[in-house]
Symmetry: C2
Subunit: 209 residues, 2 copies
DNA sequence: CGACAGTACTGGACAGTCCAGTTTTTCGGC
DNA sequence: GCCGAAAAACTGGACTGTCCAGTACTGTCG
């Protein structure tokens, strides 16, 4: 045995991961109250007792699952980091950035997660705040940093880069995200996203030179 | 007796109203799953049986309560209607409009209601859609109408008035509404609202002349 | 033996019903 | 218009059935 690679997470760790994975899936799909511990155990291929061996109770499991998703924002931040400071292709570059933003943030899983956090922000206030700060605000800040750089290069005029970042996201995301929050997100088409991205980037440039 | 005015709603009607009022309050405060029919009956000062006499079940009651709130958007639409077409005071007028928009839409009750609808959009897809169309989109359309007029007057250049309306709301509302959705809405100060409104209106005008 | 699966169990919460008795409304006869 | 009886609405509380978080117990595999 031990035919498995050098990377051996240990039985316990593997179970742990299986549980969090399953829990994430079920919570996202059915919401907090709609999810039973039996569902999670079953999907994880694990007995309920094992679930309780790893997580004291349902609330803790939920918190862990939600908080764990904030690491995905790093990819988002990288995305923002590499906007080249080139006057000739500024609009093109911002449009591309906008497009990727939209693409990422309108993915059903992301929207579902967003819904999940909002829905339970009452019962788990800490969680809502943490998610907002570690996810939302971090992206916003890196976006602000990007605009600050472009301003330093003379390509943009953003006295208040954070406000600019807010405006950028607002122009882009208000419509599609809201529609998805209320109606059951019928997955926007690529063409729609292109249009939103182009219009948003154009408007943004009209404001911030 | 009958010292009461000519307008006497009758007992049944009064109870009905008491129930919807109580239900609205409790649903908004505690969410759908967090609310029990006993809570509602108690707050309404009514027996549970009476609640079931007026509403077949919890879901129906919830639907009725939520849908009933969409009539408030009329006030919002009136607000949009009377933006005077005056070049000299255009920025001032739009800033005022923006300010009132923010004021209205960041009120805790409105935000809570929004949260309530989003949270249960999975379980009540019809409801989410209806609320979006009858509330959200109606305001957006009247805003678009306003911009269309201003464009006709030559004060604005909005080829696509609906897009302009979306941009207007996005610039204004993205930040404060999101913050409120995730963190427990600590009620924005008047100064903050002023700032957001001014910045939003200014940005909007930079785009749409 | 120790970690786990499987399953049965406990206790509490809650939607919705039932019933026995009370109040309010309705309405026809005077 | 007033009266009294039937009809309808309401109260309070007990009750049913179900769902589910969390626990306990038994058997099994390594």
């Amino acid at each position: 045995m031990s035919g498995t690679e050098t990377r051996e997470p240990g039985r316990s760790a593997r179970k742990h991961q299986a549980i969090t994975r399953a829990a994430t899936a079920v919570f996202v799909e059915r919401g907090y109250p709609g999810t039973t511990m039996d569902d999670i155990a079953k999907l994880a291929g694990v007995s309920k007792q094992t679930v309780y061996k790893h997580f004291v109770d349902k609330e803790t499991l939920f918190a862990e699952v939600v908080l764990a998703t904030t690491d995905r924002v790093d990819a988002m931040i990288d995305l923002v980091a590499d906007v080249p400071a080139d006057a000739a292709t500024l609009e093109e570059n911002l449009t591309r950035l906008a497009r990727r933003f939209l693409e990422t943030l309108t993915r059903p899983e992301v929207l579902q997660l967003r819904r999940l956090v909002i829905a339970n922000a009452d019962t788990f206030p800490k969680l809502g705040t943490a998610w907002y700060e570690q996810g939302f605000e971090r992206v916003l800040e890196s976006l602000a940093g990007c605009f600050r750089n472009l301003t330093a290069e003379g390509l943009l005029h953003a006295e208040d880069p954070l406000l600019a970042a807010n405006h950028f996201s607002g122009l882009l995301l208000w419509i599609p995200v809201n529609k998805a929050m209320f109606t059951g997100a019928p997955r926007h088409t690529a063409a729609e996203l292109d249009r939103y991205a182009a219009a948003g980037a154009r408007a943004f440039l009209a404001v911030y030179r």
